[in-house]
Symmetry: D2
Subunit: 150 residues, 4 copies
């Protein structure tokens, strides 16, 4: 079975932080890295008017981008240093209307493997002191070997 | 079984166009309405550097936002004038790495209903003259009654 | 939000037991009711040669029948006495090859609702003293009103 | 990309037929092989009282077993002679109540690959001359290498 990334925790944190800050779409949407460990990753998003629909609820694309990216990073944390993940598919249940000031997400690997990881992610919306589960995602990630540099 | 929207085609086109242009996140990402009819909707996205990952492939969140929004509009086109759709869940298969200059999407209602619609959407990437299927989405939408204005 | 079934616990147990024993296919496959409560249900299956593939692993249809039926009963336990559930869709991840002597399943409602319940179910395989997670299912159930008797 | 099975059509038909008749659970439920070709497979099921729920509709486990098995065989037909498929996950939409005398299923590979196939399957119910789509399944299959015989 896959083992967690054999780097020291600080180096891993720096790698995942770069996976958020270095990805143009993640930066464009505004996702922020929070924390990570072996097989899990947490992130957040400060909601702005541009993240919503004209109906006043968050666009599902915003919630999904947060959950999918967090799931990918959690899976990456169960890969070896010469491997990377490729998302094959995911399902997301939108459990409640997304309203609030901030989203947080925590993704965890349910079943790591040599060839694929299954990852789950939960997304909560925060308004003042209340926190409500708005979505749950379940993804299958293929584990691919990095190409050797030329 | 649900009937297509009983407005004339031009009015329906105008409504769906507004569903794209009036939604802040859809405008922010850059989705463009192409065409629609009873139970189907087509849209496109001109790709910009901000839609990608640092790895050079499109972020799954971009592809998903296009497919999900198109699916919602296709489902809306099978609602009565006093109804709207709420996406309960979707699954998306990411079939090939998303590279190219432009995405197009076509969503079609597979099974309309009084209480929910099942919708499928396909996303292609275009580069020069070639067109490749990159994703397929399958969504369950609840049909909800509009609230009466106060 | 939906409330658990307002019957006394013994009556509810009897109802769910009947949902297993009275369903011809459930009886045919051999599923056995174990226990239930508000929003959850547990069941098991003693494995026989007929539940397998020629390759020596359980057929996915066996695991799925157990998980789906358990999920439906868990959802039913969040319905009112004049309501029943209809499964709209489910996704199942087959996490490991199904081998062993016995399957157990526990399904829990993740999000109950007036019109829809989202339910999750886990399936374990047992061999001697070991217990391994072999599948996870996630289902959307519509809540429908019972027809009045004629 | 994966190529269809390089055997002659009659040999492939015999192999897939054996995949139905040699699988104890498939035989137990009563699935019957109908036909197959490169990347597709068709099967049927004569419905008997034991396939139903006490509510008078087919058990979802019956429909799913048919769709899942057909999808697996369709994927197998895109494998090389030294490869076999392992189902990682599937989603199924139950579109209408399953009633009738007979089920038929056709599964087709949507996207074959070296490491994974994505397959879709549709299930129809037949009553007298009418044919109605009751379910659609979408599966991800891993392509695994056969173990060398000892």
């Amino acid at each position: 079975m896959a083992q967690p990334h054999p780097l020291d925790p600080a180096a891993v944190q720096a790698l995942v932080k770069r996976g958020f800050e270095g990805s143009p779409f993640v930066r464009d949407v505004g996702l922020q890295f929070v924390d990570c460990g072996a097989g899990w990753c947490a992130a957040s998003l400060e909601l702005q008017p541009r993240h919503f629909q004209h109906t006043g609820v968050m666009h599902a694309g915003v919630i999904t981008t947060l959950a999918d990216h967090c799931a990918g990073e959690a899976g990456q944390l169960m890969c070896g240093p010469d491997e990377h993940v490729v998302t094959l598919e995911f399902k997301i249940n939108l459990l409640r209307p997304g309203v609030g000031e901030r989203l947080t997400c925590r993704a965890e690997v349910l079943k790591p493997g040599k060839a694929f990881h299954v990852v789950e992610a939960q997304v909560w919306t925060h308004q003042a002191a209340s926190k409500v589960l708005v979505a749950k995602l379940n993804a299958t990630l293929a584990v691919a070997r990095n190409k050797a540099p030329a």
